[in-house]
């Protein structure tokens, strides 16, 4: 039970960082990225190769020889930062290529292509990250036994998750966040009112890619290995599904998506009867999430925690001063009977409907 909870807490907080990043990208700004997990993978690989040093003697030569670039032995916080920066640089490259066309479907197709390219390069260029064999024996960031080490990683992950949540919260509740939501709703309107759509899209894509890279680094700290099998396209699909079910556009919904949908469900599959083989557990989880996604899209598209629960920055109404009046001839305001409201749809009734 303790192991179950520790596992849930570590993996939940790491995937929550991913989903907070994905929420900024997709939920808030409307940028569709079908290969978000590729950025997680880049962060994982780069964190690993900048901290694990040279291969152990047993893996230095011979048929089991482990090959990878850099082979640095940097302290883990620096390695983690490099992992985040590497993913952010890939994100910058992708978004610079894709954002020239403002249509979100164009970006989505570019991300699919990038995912295939990165996967195949890493899988086949053995000298980069040891190809299909992947990296293993990635050292722990603290010399502790299993359970204290999990607690240590929980502490690190939760701190980083809190930072990501804070950044996401500050962005969402600022005028910049308002622009991101305008871009999500209608890029033509955003441009018509002078917003630099491309710049905002680039910044958000880079920030969320950085978060993906950080979460990838944390993952290799926990699992101690990484290979192309860890970032199949299904993983990106599961992230998007978890975000939609949790509450697209709401960073608290991202937490629900992570802890309850992704990791909670994965842990619950442990309760499956022994007659079901271990290899079937992953597909069963994916099927459950897929069915959940369909049901939510049909019956509750706003997710468990809808974006509407987030209250944008709204200070108390300050008594108006005459000097603030922006409209010429404002003295006539109020002379016209209130007829605008007579055609209004009752908001409560509309919501209920």
């Amino acid at each position: 039970m303790v192991y179950f909870l520790l596992d849930l807490a570590v993996l939940g907080s790491i995937t929550a960082i991913m989903l907070v990043g994905l929420n900024l990208q997709y939920g808030v700004t409307g940028l569709i990225n079908f290969t978000f997990y590729t950025f997680v993978a880049v962060g994982a690989y780069m964190t690993a190769v900048t901290m694990m040093g040279k291969p152990a003697a047993v893996y230095a030569t011979g048929p089991l020889a482990e090959q990878y670039i850099l082979q640095w032995s940097l302290p883990w916080p620096i390695a983690l930062f490099i992992g985040g920066i590497s993913a952010a640089i890939l994100g910058l490259f992708v978004v610079l290529v894709a954002v020239r066309r403002l249509r979100s479907d164009y970006l989505a197709i570019v991300t699919v292509a990038v995912g295939f390219i990165v996967y195949n390069v890493i899988n086949n260029a053995v000298q980069l990250f040891d190809g299909a064999n992947g990296l293993f024996d990635i050292p722990q960031i603290a010399n502790l036994a299993t359970e204290p080490y999990s607690l240590y990683l929980i502490l690190v992950s939760v701190i980083l998750l809190a930072v990501c949540m804070w950044v996401s919260h500050r962005i969402y509740h600022s005028p910049a966040g308002r622009v991101l939501r305008v871009i999500r709703e209608d890029t033509i309107v955003a441009r018509t009112f002078g917003k630099n759509v491309q710049l905002f899209q680039i910044i958000v894509f880079v920030i969320s890619s950085f978060m993906a890279g950080i979460s990838g680094g944390l993952l290799v700290f926990y699992v101690g290995a990484w290979s192309p099998a860890a970032f199949l396209p299904t993983e990106s699909f599961l992230l998007i599904a978890a975000l939609i079910i949790g509450g697209n556009g709401n960073h608290w919904g991202a937490l629900i998506g992570s802890f309850v949908i992704l990791e909670g469900l994965a842990e619950l599959t442990r309760l499956l009867p022994n007659s079901i083989s271990a290899s079937a557990v992953g597909p069963i989880r994916a099927i459950l999430i897929g069915v959940g996604l369909i049901l939510f899209l049909r019956f509750r598209p706003q997710g468990i925690l809808p974006e509407s629960l987030l209250k944008p920055y709204k200070p108390r109404r300050i008594p108006r001063q005459a000097a603030a009046v922006p409209v010429p001839n404002a003295n006539v305001a109020g002379n016209v009977p209130n007829i605008a409201g007579t055609a209004a749809v009752d908001p409560a009734a509309e919501e209920a409907q």
């Binding site: 962005i171 910049a176 009112f193 509407s308 922006p326 404002a330 605008a340």
Partner: protein, 279 residues
Amino acid sequence: MTEGANSIPALHAKGAHEVHDFGALGSVAPVLDIQNVAFHYGGVQALAGATFKVPKGKVTGLIGPNGAGKSTLVEVIAGGLRPSEGQILYDGTNIAGLPREQIFRLGITRTFQQTRLLPRLSVLENVMMSAQNQVGENMGLAIFGARKWEPQERELIDRADYLLDWLQLGRLRDQPARVLSGGQRRLLEIARALMSEPRLLVLDEPGAGVYPALMRLIGERIREIVSDSVSVLLVAHNMSFVSLVCDYVVVMDQGRVLTAGQLDEVRANKSVVEAYLGF
């Protein structure tokens, strides 16, 4: 009045003091001088050398039958379409072909023929998004410098509240824009446009699909908006609305300008009667 617009030198560039004889309106400086503007969608010529001037500080109506090229011209003025020929002088500066963002920063704001509100954003946010020069739109300050943008944000909220009250949408300020009726959407588009403190407001059929009493309110508000520093170019079909609101009328047909003048003058024009008015 217009902090953002005043910071743009082009607004006060050459031609700002030149005047044009607008007939019964007298000699007025044009805010917009459209010269021989042409545009075609593939093989269809939507604008075929449209030429006219928009007087400063007045409401100019742009009328004509369906397919006359009015909305295409609005798109061209607002930067949505690049004309194949011609010039559009805004206070003496050619703005033809500039992107939407730049046109907006010069002080030209438009509304849309089919309203384009942001359905999931609140009514208040729909208005606030259009304010120029928002400090908090800098991503760095958004994350780390709330103290730098919050005072401005409070002022903007106050101004947006004023506009919403003025357009009788105040009680809906916190509702998502999707719950508004058709007429209220038109009003909200006007509020959003005014929030940017435009010098030229381009309204594309602001009275379309609106019941008469609300249309009268929109018309009255448009009259109140106009001042020495705010001009309006308005596309409309409804002649009673045009007569209520417009100082000057330009009639288009088949991508060209048939005539321009005060409504009584254009009504007397035989080609206008044949092409549009039908009497």
